[in-house]
Symmetry: C2
Subunit: 481 residues, 2 copies
Amino acid sequence: MVYLDAASGEPLDPAGREAYLAALDEGWAGPDRLYREGRRARMLLDAAREAVAELLGCRADELVFTASGTAAVHQGVLGLARGRARAGTRIAVGAVEHSSVLHAVDLAVRRIGGDRVVLPVDGFGRVALGALADLLDQGAGPALAFAAIQSANHEVGTRQPVSAAARLLAEQGVPLLVDAAVTLGREPVPEGWAVLAGSARKWGGPAGVGVLAVRKGTRFAADWPEDERERGWVPGPVNVPAILGAATALRARAAEAEATAERHRELTTLLRTRIPELVPDVEVVGDPVDRAPHILTFSCLYASGEALLLELDRLDFAVSSGSSCTASTLTPSHVLEAMGVLTQGNVRVSLPWRVSAEDVERFLAVLPDAVRVARPQQAGGAAPGTDAAADGAPESAAPTETPQPELDIDAVGKLCPLPVIELGKRIRQVEVGGTVRVWADDPAARLDIPAWCRLTGQDYLGEETPDSRPGVTAYRVRRRE
Amino acid sequence: MVYLDAASGEPLDPAGREAYLAALDEGWAGPDRLYREGRRARMLLDAAREAVAELLGCRADELVFTASGTAAVHQGVLGLARGRARAGTRIAVGAVEHSSVLHAVDLAVRRIGGDRVVLPVDGFGRVALGALADLLDQGAGPALAFAAIQSANHEVGTRQPVSAAARLLAEQGVPLLVDAAVTLGREPVPEGWAVLAGSARKWGGPAGVGVLAVRKGTRFAADWPEDERERGWVPGPVNVPAILGAATALRARAAEAEATAERHRELTTLLRTRIPELVPDVEVVGDPVDRAPHILTFSCLYASGEALLLELDRLDFAVSSGSSCTASTLTPSHVLEAMGVLTQGNVRVSLPWRVSAEDVERFLAVLPDAVRVARPQQAGGAAPGTDAAADGAPESAAPTETPQPELDIDAVGKLCPLPVIELGKRIRQVEVGGTVRVWADDPAARLDIPAWCRLTGQDYLGEETPDSRPGVTAYRVRRRE
């Protein structure tokens, strides 16, 4: 089994595991207890806190441990919003933040009676600093409570301009919250954060530990039941054995971070280069250079993300996906959506710490066939092996049909990638300059039809939602060639 | 080392530990992932959920796993309050609930714009059902959102009348939240709960797992950031390996629960009987019969709780305490306060699963000397070995002084147990029928001076807080004999 979904979490790092098991025996008592086992647990906790604080670049008394990375994000967002509520009630949040950040911000603005402004991203998924600057310039708008910008994106890897954003915000005394889960233990912590959140699982630590750092002087106030543990910033106990495992894993990772990052970068660069050579009609997304070293995402036209994931699993490769068919919500990834890129047949590869070049080569070897399996040409298309099937595009309309000036395609009830497949198959049934209307109720169609146009050189004209067909949208495409 | 603080948590149960370690290798992937490791984690999680649900007496789809017992309580309280907010905004909570319940209820009433009513307890710490009935009868009062009553008390062991309370509440369709942390895995789950919370650490499971069960039909709504995992009732991930350890530990415990409870009951009964025989001026509190089998609390007049804990630790016994000097807040346990019992020199003994009779005998053997060390008679009192010191009471005033009709004792700035020691030493300086005023700013004095009166047969007249000395209270005692 080749595991390529490290961004979701990895098996426990060996050093971290060893520390954790030892601490199960040594640090199981409550660190607030006065007796010996309690004092020992307290010492272990203090040592772990010092070690992690040093690695994060903060003081020990600025750092608390939470029950998970999600909890760190939630408590960071809610605590900062509550603490800053008198100073400002507007929260600026990057469009491609992890959903835990977005959900926490949604709740925070409800609680403080404020509003949320989403900072748009460019095609690479990078936050537009100009939008942030505009927000800060608006004399008439509400004052900002804080802004939330991740260190790098968890789906596409693109690094965010954290320090530049922090400087902009600092001019107006507005704090910056940074979800650094993607880069902690891999890259230096970016400068300028007022609140920093991370997840031990993402750096090879055990489940059940998150980190939340709050710079001294930052207004921060509990928005949860009172609890005197962890400075009142965390509603719940500390899991001392897990924290020890987390601290040990982080230290082990940090010691190898540069070398590992270099190795990961080479491998993801190889993937970025080779995949479009091996697989037709594929879009590799995210910044090719300014990115976290271990993450790569690409989307395949006409392919089902779920089918691709399952086929890769059958071939012993574990990856994840941002396609709608792989999400419990059946909507496509908000990250890909914000970037305006193709979402169907999406695969995210994230390299585990000790991934080998052989693992990656094996993946490249099986990928083309896996994509073919995930491309349902058989649904009325060419047989496998024909030219049309080989290059991925659905078989075009039979040449004897005369192209029409207009065409309506009814794809209602068909889920991604079928609406786009239909469009791909039938575009030549309309004359050059003619218009196709694709009727669909699939949420991914809103994103993938424009992306298809971009990738195939056609013109996207827009969408209409006529009252006559509630819940259905008509996407208009003009055939350019 | 003899560990007698099981109520805070115990080392990981061996069966649970084994299951946990195996699951670290098998269940580390996200259970929502489509690939093999994810599906395996999902299967392990589902199996654990079924097992725990069966042991708790609920359906699998009524049960979610939280990040800790504290989180289960918080989310139980906040979710029930939010779900019931249209039906009622008043929350009734037992006076001796765990502080996590009280803090969560405080926040819940703020959020739903309601109020909290504390249900008083009797001298044993049992909730007065009459007060609950009155609350339900009050036509004019706000409707009840819910009531929170624990299965048994974590400090004194007294069982609460959960089922009777549930029946009362059910007549008006008001749900009952039960914090069952003290009894899960030891005693049958009481009937009638709508929301049930528990902590795996308390049943020998690993840290990082709580259980929250919500009966179908109970109005329950997330009061935290959206998160589709665990039915939206939990803002955060599931720790599959820890959950497996928790389920295995619970099953192992449940299999031995009856025999262990019997053994524990014999040992705590022994302690309840022997301690007053061995140690003078001691109050053993809580219901002697209707109690959890493994918990015992007693308070020692004239003793410092912290000194007693540390002396017992020096002698290799780990216990906990409800005395103010052992609390980070420097206030005495709210449980002992609500019961109106002595708080100084307080020791809570809670038996670990495999405690032996020898452990308990050894504890009884060292206790008298440990209490002597914790009783600072030397502070102006008899030397150790004299009659006065042997029976615990501070040396009385020298017989040549003539008793006065009134006496002021200035104990301002002196912390528990010094104000009571002063009172004990000098009560005979006032004539029979005369009044002593003890001036003190120690929070425990409010509870311990009345308790001292009760234990020594004197009359407690009440307290005054004159404006002339802000922050200081005068406690009035009449010498009866």
